[in-house]
């Protein structure tokens, strides 16, 4: 079937403003729907990409809207890969353990929840330092 062999790649470049999160979600949604994911999974992918880009805006660019975020979506062999690249401050999560949610609420530790959500929502999450000033988050979801 065509659906099985379906493959495509597309990219979006936006400035690092939270204003652009809705554009990023729409871009992600279109590609995820086209790939054949269920509505529920499409929702998970959209949220994971939103969280990754919010982290880039917040931590890599420290809310400066002048940075660029490159989002590449690749779909091939039932594997949906979103790569989010920035040129801001390097982020190295190392082996950050999953938060103890009860402690989190107690301490009002809002940061870190996005990373935790991404791990829960996607099949794979990787942080890559592409070069001195280029960082990438790669999110993967398989059609099951």
């Amino acid at each position: 079937m065509n659906v099985i062999n379906k493959k495509f790649e597309r990219e979006l470049i936006v400035k690092s403003s939270t204003d652009n999160l809705s554009i990023i979600r729409e871009f992600t949604k279109t590609a995820a729907v086209e790939s054949g994911f269920s509505d529920e999974t499409v929702g998970k992918i959209i949220l994971a990409v939103d969280e990754a880009c919010t982290n880039v805006i917040k931590h890599a660019y420290k809310y400066s809207p002048e940075g660029e975020i490159l989002i590449t979506i690749n779909f091939e062999n039932q594997k949906f890969t979103i790569s989010i690249t920035d040129e801001g401050t390097r982020f190295n999560p190392g082996n950050v353990p999953d938060p103890d949610l009860k402690e989190y609420h107690k301490q009002k530790r809002i940061g870190g929840l996005g990373m935790f959500l991404m791990k829960k929502l996607m099949d794979d999450v990787k942080y890559i330092n592409l070069s001195e000033n280029k960082n990438q988050v790669v999110l993967v979801k398989y059609i099951s």
Binding site: T18, S22, D50, T54, K58
Partner: protein, 117 residues
């Protein structure tokens, strides 16, 4: 532009916040403003009605985490109602049901405050 709207109305002594559309890092400050105004007006009993909310990210959930303690310290609370499954699932993933009360209907949440009063 993300489509988001906050409306605050009084139901007896309880303040109901209606949230509508998409609550993300861009729109979360609007919800923070609503909470700041309630605190300034010494209104600590809050129900958030999610009937028209389509989407929430951790930035939105963070707002409730940031304000709930102030409400509770002043004999109030933040309670949630009318949440769609896709939105509830995110609250659930982040452990909110351990620490917050969720209701199917707004009136149940409002009455919970009144029962205690």
């Amino acid at each position: 532009m993300a489509d988001f709207n906050v409306n605050v109305r009084g139901v007896g002594s309880v303040s109901v916040i209606d949230v509508k559309g998409y609550l993300d890092a861009h729109t979360a400050p609007e919800l923070e403003n609503a909470f700041n105004k309630l605190i300034n007006d010494a209104k600590f009993q809050v129900v958030v009605n999610f009937n028209d909310l389509s989407y929430i990210s951790s930035a939105g959930l963070g707002v409730f985490m940031a304000y709930v303690e102030t409400m509770r310290d002043n004999s109030g609370d933040i309670k949630f109602s009318n949440m769609k499954d896709n939105v509830y699932n995110i609250f659930d993933l982040l452990g909110f049901p351990m620490l917050y009360e969720f209701f199917d209907q707004e009136t149940e949440a409002v009455n919970k405050f009144n029962d205690k009063g």
